[in-house]
Symmetry: C2
């Protein structure tokens, strides 16, 4: 997170015994509620041994002596022996995992693997993980092979086909759908010839139910296209206004669901598509 | 999450006013600690209005009447008016957000945007978000354009160059590094000719410090290759054993850091590379 304006500065550690994604995403959604404070955050990943924890704890101690305020630690380390070492250092300590584990044990009426002394992270059934992993890898390769209207014959295997004018975010979105959710997403670019015809291009006409449209504010599209091809006809605001209007007309005409990607991240685009198109593959991702 | 063996079944809702990634990742890391229970989880995204919350609450009520146990709800909705509606339904309710917000307010000595009545999610500075977004999109396009040894001249712009024999996970890993972290990752496939020479291929010899090796257990590689090209020489265990041994020899000879991807997810591969290669771009992702 970039430092923001404000007088108070706080150092933040996102700690994890794995990739750090959970600590980062939860931590940031909390910190963003305090725009008055300037946070300087850093992620320490794979802190999965007492030795590694001691190294991080030493760093925290050092920072706490240098700064006006003690560091904030958002900890998602499962092993309590390891996290105890962090907790003992001079920091404001948030233990995500333990906070919810004890009450969950009570609700579920069983002791967690964690608390019966399982030393490492409890891994999910490896066969299911393998399958989910292969599904995701295959879906990424599918997105790559079916990018920008290539291999039209594979459209029948697609879970969803993204359509939109050039630079609306089709490629990153289709790859993300594969990477994160194991969803096979093809994409088809609406070129000026398609748009002029006022008809669904023949290549995708048979797959109307799988289509999902992307749109964007013309001014933003013009900026993005200018970055790619400065001062081209393709990047002019007029071209962008025309193409976007024609694409949206086509979506409405054929009742293709569509979203405006202007203010959305790739994660948000993908999640909204899953909701609207009802293609959730039930959490293949971990 | 797939149901696992066990006698007790519990329905789980991951709730979010956004993509649901935080609720899913934190929720799963908690639930995986209870292998005795069969969880049936579902994500409800973009629950950002009272109307949508009522719909989900109705669904929870219905499920609680049908099942032996009340549903478990992992809630990351920021707006407390919205989450109150969920909390009031018949469920075991975990409010991730509120749990940590009040103590954080105390530590920071300021009131959060959330609690001064900001109605929607507080958005980060849009200019910084835009820059981070474009960095990620550009990094994804970089990974796509520099996949599998194409465009050798772009290697000088890469933050990291992944090397490895065919099907060790180079492509998904390089795209993920771009998508999630805005890191420009190229990749170069070690083909049998490269491996026989016992020398670093000339295309990448100038960029030794950027190289990062991938390896994999030969039996697993053979499985993966067999899926792609069944009964090919390329997929035999003998070929895989030879190629992997030669690649690892090359890594050691040139002191190229490398990791075994056999048991790792894409997220873990990417995060380990960032740690080892020290290429963290400080959390461009949200």
């Amino acid at each position: 997170m970039e430092p923001r304006s404000g007088s108070i500065k706080r150092k933040v550690y996102f700690l994890s015994d794995s990739t750090g994604r959970t600590a980062e995403s939860l931590g940031k959604s909390l910190l963003v509620q305090f725009p008055q404070i300037q946070f300087d955050s850093v992620t320490r990943r794979f802190v999965d041994s007492i030795e590694k924890a001691r190294k991080v704890a030493d760093e925290i101690e050092k920072v706490s002596r240098q700064e006006s305020f003690r560091p904030i630690v958002i900890d998602t380390i499962v092993n309590s022996e390891v996290s105890e070492i962090i907790r003992a250092s001079n920091c404001y300590y948030i233990d995500i995992f333990s906070t919810f584990l004890a009450p969950l044990e009570q609700e579920l009426g069983v002791t967690s693997a964690h608390n019966v002394g399982h030393p490492a992270i409890f891994k999910e059934d490896s066969r299911a993980v393998d399958q989910a992993y292969m599904q995701r890898i295959n879906a990424v390769h599918f997105a790559l092979a079916n990018d920008d209207g290539m291999h039209l014959h594979k459209y029948k295997d697609a879970d969803i086909i993204l359509v939109g004018v050039s630079r609306t975010g089709k490629t990153p979105s289709s790859i993300y759908l594969g990477m994160q959710y194991g969803i096979k997403a093809a994409n088809y670019p609406l070129i000026p010839d398609d748009l002029e015809s006022n008809k669904l291009p023949s290549a995708i006409a048979d797959f109307q139910k799988k289509l999902f449209g992307l749109t964007i504010r013309p001014a933003r599209l013009s900026e993005i296209r200018n970055e790619r091809k400065p001062n081209s006809e393709y990047a002019t605001l007029r071209t962008c206004v025309d193409e976007v209007r024609q694409a949206e007309t086509l979506y409405r005409q054929y009742r293709i669901p569509y979203i405006d990607t202007t203010a959305l991240s790739i994660e948000e685009i993908a999640a909204r598509m899953i909701e609207r198109a009802n293609i959730d593959k039930k959490a293949v991702s971990l």
